[in-house]
């Protein structure tokens, strides 16, 4: 007999500051030992649902609840946030922000400390929890010595140390690179396989979560539960397209080939999806109907690095002998794991640091003598987090700031700002306070505030991080449009979809060296490069390999080319 652990009954919730309820008519029961994935686009209420389970609602984010929510049989509103923390352990999405201890051991011990557990007992428990999440060797490390994945494992250790029955992961993949994300899912699966643990994962990166075992998927849409079904059923339905969630790539490939996806074909995992003769035949005829490789056009160089070395200390170089060439009007992605030198590279290009050796050329001219300000006329830089760039109150003021600093004023200022705002689709919002905008809109404001200075090259750090599929598409189509308008776009990213769907070329850095510079299809099918850059092999590659259709690399290339043509329509 399955034991219900979490029961929502006609549940609803409205934040104090909101005019309409964020959650409505929620009826959902989760059972002991299940692993449940909750998907949905931004604003669908999935995070609020999580906050109701762990007690941040209403203790941290006040509001009104209707209906009933029982956790292990107890009404949520009768419990304090402390009592709830005895039942539910939460891993939030920002592994850095929630790391409260000065060392790994202290962070894991944090909850025990708050519960007055004696020190002697604590030491043993911390060691056991650290072992379970494989961080024992780093017990005395401080957070800035750890990678994002290690920080997340520490947080998970801090949850496991207290032996709670319900584990809640709020967007666990949001800040991790593809390979670290994959191991995070494997760890969650390992812990979720204990029969007394109920695991709830909130995430919109469906394919990545399905790498592990998922019993049920709850689809949220506009504050309601849209569907509650098995992974196979979900992938066989049209719900993903309707609610704006990206389907796994191998499913897309199968659909392109004209295959029908059904639950009994076990589509939930690339290793389980049934590839019978019918499916293989369809894949084969699709593959053969596609064109062979086209030769990319030669472009005039806009930005060149020639054998650049850089390091803060002479004996410890961060970049070594990096040469690269960005063509006029290209859209290039730069990848590599944290610490590979990606951000240092943009700092060199913008003139923040100067190369120890080698040259940086802009349209063939050495930029050595140019100041940061002079370079900012040609090269714009957009940060990952728009909140770190915005300093003014309204959209107009923020966009105009860079020009005002350069002494532009009056009609010319107005005209140029309006033009930039029109390009970014923000003209109607020009007098809005920035605080009233969504994350994606803020990001556009920061892009507008750079575009207004008419740069030739735009460098963007993780342009799509933290955005759901719909916002991802909007942002990327917008960048593509800018690119077609003649701006060269350089994107620093971990996002493999972005690379596959939009980059003309991908440059891979590892330990300060350029280890690859090729088209995305070639990068993503090279196991050595994929491993050193913390990427993941795409499931389309695996599909081609399993089906034995054509050359897997070529299959991926044809898939990407076909996909781009479909998207362009």
């Amino acid at each position: 007999m399955k034991k219900p652990i979490i029961e929502f009954e006609n549940f609803g919730f409205q934040y104090r500051a909101q005019a309409a309820p964020t959650l409505q008519d929620i009826n959902l029961t989760l059972y002991e030992g299940e692993t449940v994935l909750i998907v949905g686009p931004s604003g669908s209420g999935k995070s609020t649902l999580a906050h109701c389970i762990n007690g941040l609602v209403p203790f941290f984010y006040p509001g009104t609840m209707t209906g009933s929510l029982r956790i292990q049989g107890k009404e949520q509103r009768s419990l304090s946030i402390f009592q709830l923390s005895e039942l539910v352990g939460t891993v939030l999405q920002d592994p850095d922000g929630q790391f409260v201890g000065l060392t790994v051991a202290e962070d894991i011990a944090f909850k025990l400390e708050n519960k007055n557990v004696p020190q002697a007992e604590m030491i043993g428990k911390v060691a056991a929890a650290a072992e379970a999440v494989d961080i024992l060797a780093q017990l005395r490390s401080s957070p800035h010595e750890l990678s994002g994945g290690q920080k997340q494992r520490t947080t998970l250790g801090g949850v496991l140390v207290d032996d709670v029955g319900i584990l809640l992961f709020d967007e666990p993949l949001a800040n991790l690179d593809p390979r670290t994300g994959k191991s995070a899912i494997e760890l969650i699966e390992r812990i979720g396989s204990r029969p007394d643990k109920t695991v709830i994962v909130i995430e919109h990166r469906l394919e990545d979560v399905l790498h592990g075992r998922v019993d049920r998927i709850v689809v949220m849409h506009e504050g309601r539960i849209r569907a509650d079904l098995t992974p196979g059923e979900l992938l066989s339905s049209d719900l993903l397209a309707e609610t704006g969630i990206r389907e796994p790539l191998y499913i897309t490939a199968l659909k392109y080939a004209g295959c029908r996806i059904t639950p009994d074909g076990r589509p939930e995992h690339i290793d389980s999806v049934r590839l019978d003769d019918g499916v293989i035949g369809k894949l084969k005829s699709w593959y053969e109907s596609q064109d062979r490789e086209e030769i990319p056009e030669e472009r005039e160089a806009v930005l060149e690095l020639e054998q650049v070395d850089f390091g803060y200390d002479a004996d410890r170089l961060i970049l070594r002998d990096v040469s690269l060439r960005i063509g006029q009007g290209e859209m290039v992605s730069i990848v590599g794991k944290n610490g590979a030198g990606k951000s240092t590279l943009s700092k060199l290009i913008c003139g923040f640091h100067h190369p120890g050796r080698g040259r940086i050329l802009f349209r063939g001219r050495d930029m050595r003598g140019d100041t940061i300000k002079e370079r900012s006329r040609h090269i714009g830089y957009v940060m990952q987090n728009p909140n770190q760039m915005i300093s003014k109150g309204t959209v107009f003021e923020e966009t105009a700031f860079g020009l005002q600093v350069r002494g532009v004023s009056g009609e010319e200022l107005k005209e140029r700002v309006f033009a930039a705002l029109r390009i970014c689709g923000l003209y109607e919002f020009r007098n809005w306070p920035i605080s009233a905008l969504s994350f994606g809109q803020k990001k556009r404001v920061t892009i507008a505030s750079i575009l207004v200075m008419k740069p030739d090259v735009l460098i963007l750090d993780e342009p799509t991080a933290g955005q759901d599929y719909r916002h991802y598409n909007e942002m990327m189509e917008f960048l593509l449009e800018l690119n077609r308008g003649g701006i060269t776009v350089i994107m620093i990213t971990h996002d493999m979809h972005l690379m596959m769907e939009y980059a003309h070329r991908t440059i891979v850095l590892a330990d300060g060296r350029k280890i690859a510079d090729d088209r995305p299809a070639a990068i993503l099918t090279d196991p050595a490069v994929v491993a050193t850059a913390n990427l993941k092999e795409t499931s389309v590659y695996e599909l081609a390999r399993r089906a034995g259709v054509g050359e897997p690399k070529e299959f991926v290339r044809r898939f990407i080319a076909y996909d781009r043509r479909i998207r362009a329509r």
């Binding site: 201890g101 000065l102 944090f110 400390e113 911390v126 800035h144 940061i372 350069r406 750079i450």
Partner: protein, 279 residues
């Protein structure tokens, strides 16, 4: 990256092994003693004691060299200022005047003034090594536990610890934000006029404040979810019981305080006078 400055490094020495609470009490009483006394003998003895402690602690020169140079520079300025503002302070205190040479107007150099300023210098040299030593040898995570032990509320003690945890993150935010601002042509260097510079600095401060507030929100949510603030007390993973060495250190500082006070006040004046009255 930049070299770590004035931060705790894990080393094995008797000083490192002392608990943070004892080091804090020691440092506080030491500073009080050095502030009160102008007795040169006492100050000299304490200065030498400080040097010996430094030697025992095995702290590396490069860990504090930059700060030390900075302090030395400001000390020099301070000495000059003391002389410029009151060149006859020594004469007033010691009641005699032995002129060495005369500069101009009311500025002459007396042995009394030199001796007075030498004493001030000595005070700094007594306190500074101990302050450095305290910062360099106290494990920040154990320090919060120590504060709690000496009676500070655990919420405040933890606030100290969390501040230490997030200072590097906020520094990194600051670097990133100022990089993005400068890449937008917002100049904060001396090339810009002062008015514009102040305005441009706000372009960095505003986002920094907002990002930091966001950090605080995330951290406090994470802490609440892990039962922080639930009980009246909490235990500490890194707490350390007082050992023999800790009690010995406390005994030593009380003895130093008492000895210094005795030496200083037994003749009824804070100042140790080496000058003979020559009426």
């Amino acid at each position: 990256m930049k070299a770590k400055m004035l931060t705790y490094t894990r080393l094995e020495s008797p000083i490192h092994r002392l608990t943070g609470a004892v080091k804090l009490i020691f440092f506080a009483l030491w500073s009080v003693t050095a502030m009160i006394t102008y007795d040169t003998r006492s100050l000299l003895a304490m200065f030498l004691f400080g040097l010996v402690m430094f030697k025992i602690s095995k702290v590396k020169f490069r860990d504090y060299s930059f700060v030390l140079y900075l302090i030395l520079f400001f000390m020099l300025l301070n000495q000059l200022a003391v002389y410029l503002f009151s060149p006859a302070e020594g004469v007033k205190i010691y009641g005699t005047s032995h002129e060495w040479f005369h500069i101009a107007g009311r500025y002459n150099v007396t042995w009394e003034q030199l001796f007075y300023q030498f004493n001030i210098l000595l005070k700094y040299f007594t306190v500074i090594p101990m302050a450095l030593l305290f910062l360099l040898t106290t494990d920040p995570s154990e320090f919060a536990a120590s504060l709690n032990r000496v009676g500070v509320s655990y919420r405040i003690a933890y606030a100290v610890s969390i501040a230490m945890r997030y200072i590097p993150d906020i520094q990194r935010d600051f670097h990133n934000i100022s990089f993005a601002a400068q890449a937008r042509g917002i100049d904060m260097s001396k090339k810009e006029k002062l008015g514009a510079r102040i305005k441009n600095v706000s372009a960095v401060l505003m986002p920094l404040i907002l990002t930091s507030l966001q950090r605080i929100e995330t951290v406090s949510a994470a802490m609440e979810l892990r039962a922080f603030g639930h009980g009246r007390t909490r235990t500490w993973y890194n707490a350390r019981p007082f050992g023999k060495a800790d009690f010995a250190a406390l005994a030593i500082i009380v003895a130093i305080l008492a000895g210094s006070m005795l030496l200083t006040f037994h003749d009824g004046s804070r100042f140790y006078n080496i000058f003979e009255r020559t009426e």
